[in-house]
């Protein structure tokens, strides 16, 4: 077996094993579809949800929240993490608020933000951005602090400006750690989107789960939404990992 096929085959094999195990459980226990639908029931429901068009508005709403929330949250987190890492004074002044904001469950904060920001897309993006912010800001701070002081002295001896130091040394050397934060953050963005949708929205995969659950007892449709959420998480995580490989691996 050529080595390059090994990894994709391993992924496919584990997916197949998972689906088979799922199917076996439903058959052996005889669980009805409204509690645990079999995989092919979910696939069938997914196909119908796509062809009837009910999936799209929910899927695109969640995608928009994840992309915008992660993007805005990550940018802000890298900027703040840089300031925290560079200055002990900034860290002393800001970190209590950052930690406190992280300690308050986002579930409790989401309804408040929904009221403040008019219940639109902006409020939901903000929830996503908030939940994404903490791991990335902390990773950036730690990464910036771990810059080799010998390299800092070298760049200073060559007349580097503050901007040179940040762009040519501190950010690149923190990059592997920052990517660790981005990988955690991107999966949290999906969680943030669903929490925000539950706090008040008319579209989104989180809303679709509520519709399927409360109005229709359509458990297969709930599973369709869950599978899409997982897929969004996997794809964006994969994109972050791909970016990491391009930017960091070559060292």
């Amino acid at each position: 077996m050529p080595g390059r096929w090994r990894r994709p085959l391993a992924s496919l094999a584990s997916l197949a094993a998972f689906l088979v195990a799922w199917k076996v459980v439903t058959v052996l226990t005889g669980t009805p579809d409204y509690i645990l639908p079999a995989p092919e029931v979910v696939v069938d429901r997914g196909v119908r949800a796509i062809s009837s068009g009910i999936l799209w508005p929910h899927l695109t709403a969640t995608l928009a929240e994840v992309v915008l929330g992660f993007g805005a949250g990550a940018l802000a987190a890298v900027a703040v993490g840089l300031a925290l890492g560079k200055s002990v004074v900034v860290e002393r002044a800001l970190s209590p608020y950052i930690v406190a904001a992280q300690a308050i469950p986002i579930l409790a904060l989401a309804p408040l933000l929904d009221i403040w920001f008019g219940g639109g897309l902006a409020a939901r993006v903000l929830v996503c951005a908030l939940i994404v912010f903490f791991p990335i800001a902390i990773a950036t701070m730690v990464g910036i602090r771990s810059t080799d002081p010998q390299l800092t002295e070298l760049l200073r001896s060559l007349g580097a400006t503050r901007g040179d130091l940040i762009s040519r040394l501190e950010i690149p050397s923190a990059l592997p750690v920052i990517f660790g934060g981005l990988r955690v953050g991107v999966t949290l963005a999906v969680v943030g989107a669903v929490v925000a949708e539950w706090a008040g929205a008319s579209t989104g995969l989180g809303v679709l789960i509520n519709i399927a659950n409360q109005g229709l007892f359509d458990t297969p449709l709930m599973f369709v939404a869950l599978v899409w959420l997982a897929a969004i998480g996997l794809v964006f995580h994969g994109l972050v990992v791909a970016a990491e490989r391009r930017l960091v691996a070559d060292r």
Partner: protein, 286 residues
């Protein structure tokens, strides 16, 4: 990788520096650092020395005597409490002015940059155009015999090669003054000897003012025209030993009676300035 002078006659840089480097004068420098206890540790005091234009001067002294501090003051990385440093009778060098090439004990290459980009770093920071900096970095790399490693990453270089790259980086802006801070102490003996030989060829080709900080007496004798012995802390120039040996000096210099006499002279000077804790424990027994 042995390089001969004849191989490199065609790689003179586009903008040659001053023919024989520039002289450095250090006058009455004092440097102190704050200590944990709130006091101040005086690293250098009443430190004065001359580095004549085009000469190779070695600065030698016991550990902690302020050799590296002296080098940082001359490089303009550290402002002394008192005293002055003059390059060519004018202002002291300051970071980024391209008048000083600095080689540290460790290569200090940036791990994510290729060798040539590392060597070009001083030019990049000086906002030199990309084409020109590639040309000049390639020239600097061939001067130190690393032309084949242009695209290599620092982790792919051996210790000796990495230190050559660091030397190329120091030479890339064609500085009139080269400062070397124990640049070979992390290398094995054989690599060190090869490095010493090549440095001499490099200096004979294009003389520049060199200040070498070292704690190896034999290396100082092999490389330097003058050896300045520093007292233990606070450091002060105690003795100056001239080294009038013909160049290039061979590796087997230790067998040369004249060289041996100079070495003995330096060791005697060092013995006088050594700090109390280095006095041999056997001396107190009898």
């Amino acid at each position: 990788m042995v390089i001969r002078a004849s191989d490199r006659s065609s790689v003179r840089p586009a903008t040659p520096g001053p023919e024989s480097g520039l002289p450095v004068t250090v006058r009455d420098v004092r440097v102190s650092f704050p200590t944990r206890g709130g006091g101040r540790l005086v690293a250098l005091d009443e430190f004065s020395m001359e580095v004549p234009a085009g000469s190779v001067t070695a600065l030698i002294g016991p550990n902690g005597c302020g050799k590296s501090t002296a080098l940082r003051v001359i490089a303009g990385l550290l402002t002394p409490d008192r005293g002055t440093v003059e390059l060519d009778g004018g202002a002291a060098p300051h970071p980024g002015d391209g008048r000083v090439g600095l080689v540290f004990q460790q290569p200090r290459l940036i791990p994510w940059l290729s060798t040539i980009d590392n060597v070009a770093l001083p030019l990049t920071l000086a906002r030199v155009a990309p084409d020109e900096r590639r040309t000049r970095a390639a020239e600097a790399l061939s001067r130190v015999g690393l032309a084949a490693a242009v695209q290599a990453r620092p982790r792919e270089l051996s210790g000796g090669m990495a230190q050559r790259a660091a030397l190329a980086r120091a030479l890339v802006s064609d500085p009139p003054l080269l400062l070397l801070d124990e640049p070979f102490s992390a290398l094995d003996a054989l690599t060190r000897e090869a490095f010493d030989s090549e440095l001499q060829v490099l200096w004979m080709e294009r003389p520049l003012t060199v200040l070498l900080v070292t704690h190896a007496v034999s290396e100082a004798v092999r490389l330097a025209d003058r050896i300045v012995v520093l007292t233990s802390r606070p450091g002060r120039a105690a003795t100056i030993v001239p080294v009038n040996l013909p160049r290039p000096r061979p590796v087997a210099l230790a067998g040369d009676p004249q060289a041996a006499a100079i070495e003995a002279q330096v060791r005697d000077a060092l013995a006088e300035v050594r700090p109390a804790e280095l006095v041999s424990w056997t001396e107190g027994v009898a």
